[in-house]
Amino acid sequence: MALRELSSLEKYLGLKKPNKYSTQGDKKVPVLQNNNGPPLVGLVTIACHLVKEAKRPELLGDSAEGRAVVQQWLEHRVTKLDGCTKEDTKTILKDLNLYLQDKVFLAGNQFTLADAFIYFGIHPLIVEMPIQEKEQYVNVTRWFDHIQHHPGLRHHLPPLVVLRNRIYTSRHH
């Protein structure tokens, strides 16, 4: 999973030469052999490295605050989202739904690495979810649909139908 995400990120960034990755430990943590230094270990660490290599620093946030928010969501992805139980899933989506209430992206007013990796991490949860349940998380599904249509991002993942035609929703707000 993690390796496919990194390869999708490489394509998104337009990096010409694909890197070769290995994994370490039971949790299959990705490792990137680095020509001019010690190997890089960890999904977040390698993803940030690729972004720097592609000279796209804005993907890590455009201010000190923005960068901290991006890092926080990247950490959230690898500590909370990965390996979460069914019960955790509900809490995570509920919280994210509230957070996204007044936001288009996770950090600031532009697409960042945080959007990419929370999207990658949430995709398997959304796949399994019946449409009625998706409707409980309207802000998440709105954001999800937006990110999955972000140009060049969705390489290893199938597109998902997350939003029903509004005509069929009978609920009043």
Binding site: L40, T45, H49, A64, A68, V69, Q72, H76, T79, Y99
Partner: protein, 228 residues
């Protein structure tokens, strides 16, 4: 900016130490463990930093990283790698160690639980042979890892065993005023037991529940798994 912390919460030790090391100006508020400071999180998450923009940071590592960045010390790639390792590898082991030592009175098992992460740390420090994790100066990574390990290592140095590189590096942090005053505020001079009120509110560590109930069987079970 406002920083919300609670007594006994080991993650708050990280941010209070980082605040002191960086000298960033910030109001510190002490609240209960159960206080919901971050409006969109259903479970209490402390520490939390209210940023000038009105957003909250709820990850202690992201807060430390931010404090270092605004004081002019950017987190390098290596620093980021240590922070990721701390969150994904060290924290689950530490949570289990604290659970055993503080709530179950099995302090003697702490060194076994921390064996893996401490060996990794020892190996990395011995390779680089530098005074700090990322080089010649204190980084966010050092402060985060010192503070994370402080409750356990300052209480029982036995957990360190023969790991002399970790010991030298840890002692460098343990004598710092910033770390000691943060520890005094969070642990109230009660050492590891200072985290009790916090630990009682935490769910039992998931991944190792079988070990909690049958600690004596853990080694043979592991052996079986690796043979498969």
């Amino acid at each position: 900016m406002k920083l919300y912390v609670s007594e006994g919460n080991p993650h708050c030790l990280k941010v209070l130490a980082a605040l002191d090391v960086t000298g960033v100006q910030c109001d510190v508020h002490y609240v209960n463990h159960e206080e919901r400071v971050v409006p969109y999180l259903s479970r209490p998450a402390l520490p939390a930093l209210l940023l000038p923009s009105g957003l909250h940071l709820f990850s202690s590592n992201a807060i430390c990283r931010y404090l270092f960045e605004v004081s002019g010390k950017d987190c390098t790639e290596l620093c980021g790698q240590w922070l990721e390792w701390e969150a994904t590898d060290l924290q689950p082991a530490l949570l289990q160690a604290l659970h055993m030592a503080v709530l179950q009175g099995k302090g003697s098992d702490v060194s076994k639980v921390l064996q893996g992460p401490l060996n990794y740390l020892e190996q990395s420090l011995s390779k680089g042979n530098l005074p700090y994790l990322t080089g010649d100066a204190v980084s966010a990574a050092d402060v985060v890892l010192w503070a994370a390990l402080y409750p356990v290592l300052s209480d029982s140095s036995q957990a360190l065993g023969e790991r002399k590189f970790v010991k030298t590096w840890f002692d460098r942090g343990a004598v710092m005023h910033s770390l000691q005053s943060a520890a005094q505020k969070v642990l109230q001079g009660k050492g590891l037991q200072g985290t009790k009120s916090y630990m009682q509110k935490q769910p039992a560590p998931q991944s190792n529940q079988c070990r909690d109930t049958q600690p004596c069987n853990s080694s043979p079970a592991e052996g079986e798994e690796s043979e498969r």
